[in-house]
Amino acid sequence: MIMTIPMVLLLLTIIFFVLRVMPGDPVRAMVGEKASEEQVRRLREQLGLNKPYIEQYFDYLAGLLRGDLGVSWYYRGMPVTSLIMEKFPATLELAIGGTIVSLLLGILLAILAAYNQGSKIDRAVTLFGIISYSLFIPWLGILLQLLFSVNLKILPLNTRIDVEYVPTKITGLYVLDSILTGNILGFVNALQHLILPSITLGLVLTGSYLRITRNTMVEVLSQNFIKMARAKGLAERDVLFKHALKNTLIPLLTMMGLQFALLLGGAVLTETTFSWEGMGRFLVKMIEFRDYPTIQGIIIFYGLLVAVVSMIIDIMYALIDPRVRY
């Protein structure tokens, strides 16, 4: 948490000043060639762009504290914060989907490997782990699209939902909003769209969860309380999933914190591959249009997101592990 704040400040400062020394007049770009000098001057004053850079910088910092990230150039003065908030739910939905896939797959394979420790199965699972985190996201995505959308025709090719099912915005998460508005067909449709992107993103993150869970599990399975559980005749399923699995939660949580940056980065590629209108795709588009205030806002938002998530993970340690007290 504390370590990402300097990062956000550092990024903000660099991007802020690079933005200001870039050639070209942003205000002129916003109002277009036909606008009069008077209009340009007024807009410049309105946006505070006539002030010295250092004053603009502190204005920006002050705005940041109020959740104000400035206004977009490309979208003619729209607040960057609301533009980001429009795209963020899509990224969140994908991130949740990807996390579920990677945790499920990672934990199940890890249990399989740890239970058969040292066998061919164990080594095959380890190999799968290495290959899974070496996969190039767009390639994996395209292969899945080819198989499930083009050839088998059982899942949609891309985008978040078919146009006719777009739910009224409540949370912005289409899967959740469809349920909340009682639209079952919409829910199924949104879920179908979510499957391939989630597998793509999830598979790439599986390897790390797999490795950490397997190693912890191997260690835990050799401990006395497991022998005790087996000795008293517990079903093997209960030994593995209840007694042993609980002890892998803390390393797993640590890994989730470490993986979060990878998850966000992977989401940028996944969103582009599946035309998923989230923050990553938005960032790439805004770079193409050279909308610097929006780019700056998105980067800062990513930084804050990392900070918030690492704080949540710290709190969860205390909830899961009775030894941790703050």
Binding site: A261, V268, I295
Partner: protein, 283 residues
């Protein structure tokens, strides 16, 4: 004789470290050699229209042609040159900044060390590819050197953290304390007493770094922040074939396969080196 062969047999057990090392190194050597000799073995020029667009794999074009009529196979071999070139340059950049910084910071200690550690941790915790996108966009994409810088920045903290950690643990050993006591200059302590213990760490990170650099380079080119077309590049070729996957699957499939094979090769090398060189580093 049978003892030796059974020993080799157990060393090369499926999935063991030695087995992975062997496969990893074979993959790497194959890709490096193919990239070096690409101009001599390619049937066609990678940047010229050599046939009809969208011809499927055949005896004339073994991996087919793309939407412009370039030979996919020739672009694949030349693309390896671009990818490896960027990956190696960026890795060397990260190393030449991360390693000295980590050693000096860890050895000096005090506030400069804490200050640097905070900055490095901050960069480390930020999503690598997003940072690389931002840097590439600021420096101006298209230039191979700029792409290498963008990738290099994201990996400096990894060297810094691992090297610094290793220095901190060796600094307090009697060996180094003795060297300080006899008045050895700092340069000698760092290079002759501490550095040899840092090398195994660097070797492992190096191979991991190349694997990650290949993925980041491919990601940047895929998103349009990579080399300028028509320079052959796996990430860019994958992207340019994506609109046609339904009718011309070969354009995107092969470059993506190459990226994955190359990364698997370096990941396997890193993984097996990690197990063989420094069992304590695992986890």
């Amino acid at each position: 004789m049978s003892m030796i062969s059974s020993k080799i047999g157990s060393l090369l057990k499926f999935g063991s470290s030695a087995y992975m090392l062997l496969i990893g190194v074979s993959i790497i050597i194959t890709i490096v050699v193919l990239s070096i000799i690409a101009p001599f073995i390619c049937p066609y020029s990678p940047t010229q229209r050599v046939g009809p667009a969208f011809s499927p794999p055949s005896s004339t074009f073994i991996l087919g042609t793309n939407s412009i009529g370039h030979d996919v196979f020739s672009r694949l071999l030349h693309g390896g040159r671009t990818v490896l070139y960027v990956a190696i340059i960026s890795t060397l950049m990260s190393m030449s900044i991360g390693i000295p910084l980590g050693m000096i910071s860890g050895y000096i200690g005090g506030w400069p060390d804490r200050f640097l550690a905070v900055i490095m941790d901050a960069i480390y915790s930020f999503p690598g590819i997003i940072l690389a996108i931002a840097i590439a966009a600021m420096l101006g994409p298209g230039n191979i050197f700029n792409i290498a810088i963008a990738i290099a920045v994201t990996y400096i903290p990894t060297y810094y953290r691992m090297v610094r950690g290793q220095v901190l643990s060796i600094k307090s050993t009697p060996m180094v304390e003795a060297a300080i006591a006899i008045g050895a200059p700092v340069r000698v302590i760092l290079l002759e007493y501490i550095f040899p213990y840092v090398v195994p760490v660097i070797v492992v990170i190096f191979s991991m770094n190349i694997a990650d650099a290949i993925l980041t380079e491919a990601g940047l080119s895929y998103l349009g922040f990579g080399v300028t077309p028509p320079t052959p590049d796996w990430g860019y070729d994958l992207r340019s074939g994506q609109p046609y996957i339904v009718n011309a699957w070969w354009i995107s499939t092969f470059p993506g396969l190459m990226i994955t094979i190359a990364v698997v090769g370096f990941s396997m090398l890193a993984e097996s080196l990690n197990e063989l060189l420094s069992p304590k580093l695992r986890g």
